[in-house]
Amino acid sequence: MSTDAIVLNNVFKSFKKTSKRNESTTMKTELVRLLKFQRRLVEPATHIEALKGIDLRIPQGSTVGIIGRNGSGKSTLLKLMTGIYSPTTGTIDVQGRISALLELGAGFHPDFTGRENILINGIILGMSRAELKERTPGIIEFAELGDFIDEPVRTYSSGMFMRLAFAVATHVDPDVLIVDEILAVGDEHFSRKSQTKMNEFRTSGKTIVLVTHDLATVQNWCSAAVWIDGGRVRMYGHSADVVNEYRRAVNAAENEGQKTGHSALDQPGLALPSRVQVEDKAPLGSVSAVRLKDGRGAAQQAFRADAPLTIEVDWSVREKAKVKFGLDLIASDGRLLLSTGWSGGELSGAGTARVELARLGLGGGVYELLLSAAGNDETVKNPFRVALHVAPTDGVGPLRPELRWSL
């Protein structure tokens, strides 16, 4: 589980400014340049840097939302991950088959029937003929087109078109799925159906990267979120934290705009101002290690649902500060199950804090614990993450209270 599906290493991407390009590059100027034996002029001023050094690791099986304002570089990032663009510098490694839902129905031909378009679109998306033959019935069934499947696509309603396209794209069976704002496909019924399909992807351990402006989706549905701002990773962490920080920054920029008449929001792609430059300072408090122990004080990897759990947190503060400890419990689908904190009072130096759960009370599965120690109300940016494995129980779901049946 610890391997990464996508690794970006110091990725830069710059584009040539096309307006300048059209002025200066025609057949004639190129010919003149060639005749004069001049090398192509590289003018840094005519380039736009869309991404300015992205380092990102997306673990296998995670669901990551990418948020940020228009022009911040989200789509460029997706296109780089997909391989449509190649980075100017830096490297991108992707493990496994990648499928991108950047635009549904790429390569659909209006004069061809739904069935014919499944074939061509499937091949474009990387399926082999044999795979397609096998999956076509499933795709047709999923798209719910009935007899229309043998009609030309130009006769389809836009909803039918999208349904067919979504059905093909999700039947590619990728290891990594890249999605750009298209979860809401079709009517309520189909939209639910596609949500179910996406959930299926998530539970089967596929990696999903999603770009959206729908912050609620990111918060509820993604386990982690990346906030891209001005071509850089502004924040990467638990989705709720990132979404909150992003909202806060947009609010702050809007307030500033109301006061001063201009703000970073006026210019597309410009980075939002941080409150003060606290973000760049090292946090006061931090957690260096976390140990999970059973009732007898022995370190354990997996726990039973009804066993006690003790969490030991090694914390430290850079200077004397009011320390607040935080504990978040997250289910494998990214849902926040518990978020609780405890004020440890004025502390300095380092030490070990202990949280004792008399009874775990969780259903079988893998959970994630986020432990943090924050000084003087600073926002937690980098909590310590640890996986909690709970042995399977006879029920389903994350909740496992002490219960007794009787007649």
Partner: protein, 266 residues
């Protein structure tokens, strides 16, 4: 170059599917449908026969058949080039939305036109029979000649397609270039009737044309097979093959160097 061609082979399923679709799509909405494959070159030929055979009174015997033996391969060449030049720049939908091997697009155009050419061959043979020309065993040379022409066409189409992404001016000029090449290639006229140019003798200027215009050599080979019914002269063909190889090497390099910017510029 090797990499380019092996990648093309890897994507053969895509290439085939796209070509089949192009073939089907071309005539799908029309009433006569597939018959246009035959009708188009026939009508084309009739126009030329009217102008050059009847009005200008060409001295070539069986002029309609003579014309057709050159016109069909020429249509394969010119349609590939005309369609191929904008094949990449026109497919923004594919290149910017999915990870798509760009070299398949020009190849699709060439393959589609190749298939069209093969499909119209029975028409050529039929016309030959009408003029009393029975096909001979020399037909087997169709394979090497076609290979050379396809390779040459593919190399040139690659180059034009790659360059056109950055220099869209090319797609406007390519039509005129092809038209000029059409008149510089012995399709309508017989090579032997080519006049002397400047201080050169007739033979020399004909030799010069064969050297500077690879399609002239290819055309001569087609005429040898279908019209004169003899073994084509292999030396000029071999030199065309060599030129194609060099051209393919250049095209592949240009293509490789430019393909990263395709998605950004289309």
């Amino acid at each position: 170059m090797i990499r380019n061609l092996t990648e093309l082979y890897q994507y053969r399923a895509l290439l085939l599917a796209l070509s089949m679709r192009e073939l089907k799509a071309r005539y799908r909405a029309s009433v006569l449908g597939f018959f246009w494959t035959f009708l188009n070159p026939t009508l084309n030929m009739l126009v030329y026969v009217l102008v050059f055979g009847m009005v200008m009174r060409s001295a070539v015997p069986n002029y309609a058949y003579y014309l057709f033996t050159g016109l069909l391969p020429w249509i394969f060449f010119s349609s590939s080039l005309l369609g191929g030049t904008s094949s990449i720049s026109d497919r923004k939908d594919l290149l910017t939305k999915v990870r798509f091997p760009a070299q398949v697009l020009p190849a699709t155009v060439v393959l589609t036109n190749l298939i069209n050419f093969l499909l119209s061959l029975p028409l050529l043979l039929g016309l030959g029979l009408f003029f009393g020309v029975t096909p001979t065993w020399h037909m087997v040379f169709l394979v090497p000649v076609l290979l050379v022409q396809t390779f040459f066409t593919l190399a040139l189409t690659y180059l034009f397609a790659a360059l056109n992404v950055a220099f869209r001016d090319l797609q406007h000029i390519v039509g005129n270039l092809v038209q000029m090449a059409f008149f510089l290639t012995p399709v309508l006229w017989d090579l032997k009737s080519a006049p002397a140019v400047g201080s050169l003798t007739r033979e020399q200027s004909q030799q010069l044309l064969m050297h500077v215009n690879p399609m002239a050599s290819v055309m001569a080979a087609w005429r040898d097979i279908f019209y004169e019914q003899r073994i084509p002269n292999w030396q000029p063909l071999l030199s065309v093959a060599a030129i194609s190889l060099v051209l393919m090497w250049i095209s592949s390099n240009v293509f490789e160097r430019r393909r990263e910017e395709f998605a950004e510029l289309v």
